[in-house]
């Protein structure tokens, strides 16, 4: 994993710097600045050094636990990221878990029912949601549930005219979470539904299931005590992989709902070529993917006694 991280850091650094445009030109806006201004800022941010010097300085900082200063914020990258990341995690973890539960429950139900109208109806609905562009769905939900029915707030994480604290604050955030979490969940659960259903159907045709049913065991017991544990393995893999993207994957939802997360921060950082901030975010994403893959493998081995790591 260390080798992966090192390679990732190097590659990311190279790719970001190869992109056309540099942050000083961009931060000066389209009203182009004087050459003195450009020289001053490039020197201040260390951008006038050759690339390998910049890289070495960056790695040196990393080894001391310092992610550097964001070029656009002029604040430590860790502070900038820290201020935004919890909002994203709140959103994406809630949606990921809900999507998993809903998808697996529906998939299991459809598999147990077998071919029929229920299965067809569910398949159509899940395909629809899977194909829907997430920002379009988000805006649709706003129009329906906020503008038309006045049931939920339009955007943001909290009520701006009141400043709630304590329990009321938690309730306020939860209230604001409903539409964005619903949007993310609706576009994610179809995957779990398809895989859950397919996996369950495969398991239900196994010989040992037939045997258990023949012994007269209650179908629910067969399902939940024996079948589900085996059927859920592919879903666990998918869930683990999707968690790796939990940091940057919600950018479009965050933009539509004005959710103060890191997805939008990343987009702005790309547009302004904020090298240090981008590196910080990419490293975090890479590390989180690597960690999630590891945890998925561990979870898999716990669930499946046939697999043991030495």
């Amino acid at each position: 994993m260390v080798v992966t991280v090192v390679v990732v850091v190097g590659l990311n650094f190279l790719i970001i710097h190869i992109a056309p445009g540099n942050p000083v030109d961009i931060m000066s806006g389209t009203q182009a600045p004087s050459p003195q201004q450009v020289a001053y800022l490039e020197h201040y941010y260390g951008l006038d050094q050759p690339l390998y010097v910049q890289f070495w300085r960056y790695v040196d900082g990393l080894l001391h636990g310092n992610f550097g200063m964001s070029i656009s914020f002029d604040q430590p990258v860790s502070a900038v990221v820290g201020a935004h990341i919890w909002a994203t995690l709140l959103l994406t973890l809630a949606a990921a878990i809900l999507a998993l539960i809903i998808g697996v429950v529906l998939g299991t139900y459809a598999a147990a029912r077998g071919e029929g109208r229920v299965d067809l109806a569910l398949s159509i609905v899940t395909y629809l949601f899977y194909a829907m562009p997430v920002f379009w769905l988000g805006l649709l939900l706003i129009l329906a549930f906020s503008s038309w029915l006045h049931l939920f707030p339009t955007s943001g994480m909290t009520n701006l005219r009141e400043s709630y604290t304590g329990l009321a604050y938690i309730g306020d955030v939860a209230y604001h979470m409903v539409l964005p979490v619903a949007t993310l969940t609706l576009v994610q659960f179809p995957i779990y539904y398809r895989i859950g259903k397919a996996s369950m159907m495969e398991v239900l045709h196994e010989d040992y299931i037939t045997t258990l049913t023949a012994t007269g065991m209650h179908p629910n017991r067969v399902m939940f005590k024996y079948a589900l544990k085996n059927a859920i393995l592919p879903t666990v893999t998918i869930f683990g992989l999707s968690l790796g993207y939990v940091i940057t994957g919600a950018a479009l939802v965050e933009i539509v709902f004005g959710w103060p997360g890191i997805g939008q921060l990343t987009l702005n950082a790309v547009f302004s070529r904020d090298y240090t901030l981008l590196m910080g975010i990419y490293i975090m994403t890479s590390v989180s993917i690597a960690v999630m893959i590891l945890l998925t493998d561990v979870a898999y081995s716990l669930l499946d006694p046939r697999i043991r790591y030495s």
Binding site: P20, S28, Y40, L41, L160, G171, V256, P260, Q264
Partner: protein
Amino acid sequence: MLSPMSSARRGILVASALVLTGAVSAWSSPATHPASNPSAAYTLVVSAQTEPTNLQPDAKVNDAAYAIDQNIYNKLVTIDYHYNVVPDTAYKWTVSSNGLNYTFYLHNNIKWSDGVPYTSADVVWTLNHIVKDQGSVAANLPIAKATALNTYTVRVTLKHRDAAFLGFLSWYGTFILPKHIYAGTNWLTNPNNEHPVGTGPFTFQSWTKGQSITLMANKNYFKGAPQVGKVVFTFVPDSSTALQDLLNGSTDIDTNSVPYTQVPGLRKNPKLQVKLITYPDYAYIDPNVQKKPMSDVKFRTALSYAIDRSQVAEKATSGIWPVAEGMYPPVISWAYNKNARLPAYSPSKAEQLLTAAGYKPNAQGVRASVNLVVFNSPPFPDIATLVKDNLAKVGINVNLVELDINTWTQRVGTDHDFDLALLSGFQGPDPDALMGRIGPGGTENNGRFDDPRIDKLLLKGEELTDRAQRAAIYKQVQSLMIQDMPIIPITGDSEPTVAASYVQNLPWTGAEGKVTFDDFSLVTISPH
């Protein structure tokens, strides 16, 4: 002993209760159904598209912070929506006859929000620092030095005469900063950039990152306390969502760019007030005169006949952007030459000119092939498509190259690798801005156009201080531009800003000429 299932059920019940509590308390707040609150108790909520990275107004270009900075800081002089320079912390100023020495007389009753008095020391520190540390407008302020003559008088000496100096001083990146907080520190990383102390009509209260910045009324504001008690800036990146926020009552003013196609419908809504704010910008074609055939003035003139500007304004901007008639935005009316008019749309005349200049159509009917480099922010790609279509009709084959703004800037501004470029840009606050676009070495002169007659006039315009004399010069420049066609303007720039009807005395309607662009100090809320 509780079994696992019922404890999960209880958890769900608790969560639902929390959601409902939040729902009920949010529902019953005045926000969703604003009652008749007097202004003092009202929270004005303003939505903007981008959250500022910090609130430092002068060190670097900081567009996202500009609206907020106008409410928490002041300048020496400021600028109103008619682009006139008006007093701010300086109530009076004089200029020496040689045009090099400006003397500013400051109010003596201004205090920083931490109680320290505002004096000439702050002005001197700020101006000298902008020059020394290459602040965002350092290139536009040719200041040799700034000195304090006494506690409330500042003398600014210029390196050379510059009639545009006051205009740039009043506009952007010139907010006066507190010396007692910034002196001796790095103004890029000073914590005052996160929670500023200022002199403005509102004082900074809090910043919830990613969400909102809250300001409170400054009861000691030297021009009189504002009416509204609290202003909250919120950041909504998507313009459709921002509009819904306004319609649903969560915000009172929407400064995001409203989708143009929605404007006619919004104007009919009695709960809203829509204002088309015209800026001194032009959307124009910038020909690369270093390359053929753009180097040929007859070719450029033919382009100006071939582009149907009305059609572009109608189709690309839903008629929101005004059609360009001349070479400079009419919003800066004292310098606009209404007689220097662009030719009326006439494809036949364009073809005549092209044939006479030697651009005859080949077997496929093509007279010339050029590329048109445009950045991908709407509505510019649409404008480019319409221009391509117009030019095809007169036998000019256009290859559209659409790039993101940074790549575009590299290609057009740095590498000068283009035939035609489509861009827009602020041509204010003073017509001296033309220097940057068509003057020698101008930073926006992407085509590197140069006409010595125009250069001489532009330089003269910088030196003179009498406005009538300067107006005559710039009007002459515009006449010469019609002859030379260094740029081909297509439309001006108007942006629809929407607010709730109960918000009165906005800087762009009601308080025009009294406050600067986004200064909400005079806003009042009528009962609703």
